[in-house]
Amino acid sequence: MQISMTVNGDEITREIEPRVLLVHFIRDDLRLTGTHWGCDTSNCGTCVVLMDGVPVKSCTVLAAMADGRAITTVEGLASGTTLDPVQQGFMEEHGLQCGFCTPGMMLTARALLDQNPHPDDTEIREAISGQICRCTGYATIVRSVKWAADHPAVEEIAGEEVPA
């Protein structure tokens, strides 16, 4: 079957089997490997992407169900050479160690801040409670999201190119 959707602002159309899961479509068909594939059972949350602005676990959504929707992956967070404040926050506050959970964490954080620009610690912890991090103990992730909340203006990264 043919599906069309907007991914990080680009219109794409592909021929797929109906049984293809969104996470595999994003990684294998679109080659956007920033979205990670983890537990495969909608527990770990590393496959989170935004569908029409709402965080969803892409291992438990069919690519066919995303037909006609707008998808944002971690590759869509930065604009050009300007990082999203959430990305900057994860750098400033060391919100990652191994980085496996990071794409999902950052997308959930982006969606949270879009709804609630000044979340407290409890609200941040609730928002990411469907995602598992085995490195940070979550403390630095919460600090990273707070950093982003405190620095909502996008900041140019001097002299650095963001890899495409």
Binding site: M1, E17, P18, R19, V20, L21, H24, D40, T41, S42, N43, G45, V48, V54, P55, V56, K57, T60, V61, L62, A64, M65, D67, T108, E126, A127, S129, G130, Q131
Partner: protein, 297 residues
């Protein structure tokens, strides 16, 4: 890598279209709503539908409508919408209690009340909630609609009385004066299925005695509400002694099985304790509702 077996996918454009598709494709078709129960089962090949009918475009089934004597909830209403609804919180705090402990926020962005009820998992929290609130299921098929009580709707684990060509479209919750409700679940870790959970709804008469009460338990092999535990409370002033007796009777009525979530005696203990707690909280909330009504009146 878990990938479902092959199937054909079609997206329904209207309720009538969904019913026509179900009618056309027969027993081999399944409806997918949020997909967070069905897709995992398909990935494990526990479910192998030949046709998947996606009803996510049926926005007309996504609503929360308070009316004078009832709350109407569309079958495609997401868990996150129920949890965020001020009307739901005001009328049926038990729904908020339960939604807070259903999976996690991101799963709740997709999962729906209709999907949860149709999946009919024996550990499903909303089934107990709907039982004790004496909700009705509004079902549509090719020949029109029918209204089912939860007893009529649920036939057993993973089984409902929906015909293959029928669609659950709405759940209706009757609103009663001076009423309160509560739900509490014990889980091994955040977002897990219940080891045991209990729900209760209480309506008080004007003199403060229990006019009506419903008690339900999740994940201990019971369908519907527990009459023998409710009987001790009806017509009585609610007291801690009666909550204890109701808890004891509910635990006796329960039929837990030992599994990785715990042994039988532990689950029975939970059934007893959780029944007391939800009765206590439901009565407190009913009294609070009563004083609010009095102030307004």
């Amino acid at each position: 890598m878990q990938i479902p077996a092959q199937f054909d996918y079609v997206r329904a454009s209207t309720i009538d279209n969904a019913i026509a598709l179900l009618d056309k494709h027969g027993e081999e078709a399944r409806v997918v709503a949020g997909g967070h129960s069905l897709l995992p089962m398909m990935k494990l090949r526990l479910a192998r539908p030949e046709w998947l009918i996606d009803i996510n475009d049926l926005f007309e089934l996504d609503f929360i409508l308070p009316e004078a004597t009832r709350l109407r909830v569309g079958a495609m209403t997401r868990h996150s919408a129920l949890l965020g609804s001020a009307d739901v919180a005001r009328l049926f705090p038990i729904v908020i209690d339960a939604e807070r402990v259903i999976a996690d926020p991101i799963v709740r962005n997709r999962g729906t009340i209709g999907g949860s009820l149709c999946q009919a998992d024996p550990a499903e929290d909303l089934a107990t909630v709907c039982d004790v609130l004496r909700a009705e299921a509004i079902v549509r098929g090719p020949g029109g609609g029918r209204i089912l009580s939860m007893d009529e709707f649920h036939k057993g684990p993973y089984e409902t009385s929906l015909a293959h060509n029928e669609l659950l479209v709405e759940i209706r919750f009757p609103v009663r004066p001076r009423s309160g409700s509560a739900y509490e679940k014990v889980e091994r870790r955040v977002g897990d299925w219940a080891v045991v959970a209990a729900g209760a709804a209480v309506s008080l008469a004007e003199d403060g005695t229990v006019d009506d009460v419903a008690i339900g338990l999740t994940a201990v092999g019971l369908d519907g509400t527990i009459d023998e535990a409710e009987t001790v409370l009806r017509g009585q002033q609610p007291t801690e002694e009666l909550f204890e007796e109701a808890g004891r009777l509910a635990a006796m009525a329960s039929l837990p099985v030992a599994d990785q979530r715990g042994p039988v005696d532990y689950k029975r203990h939970l059934a007893d304790e959780l029944t007391r707690r939800v009765l206590r909280r439901a009565c407190e909330r009913a009294l609070a509702a009563q004083s609010t009504t009095t102030q307004e009146g």
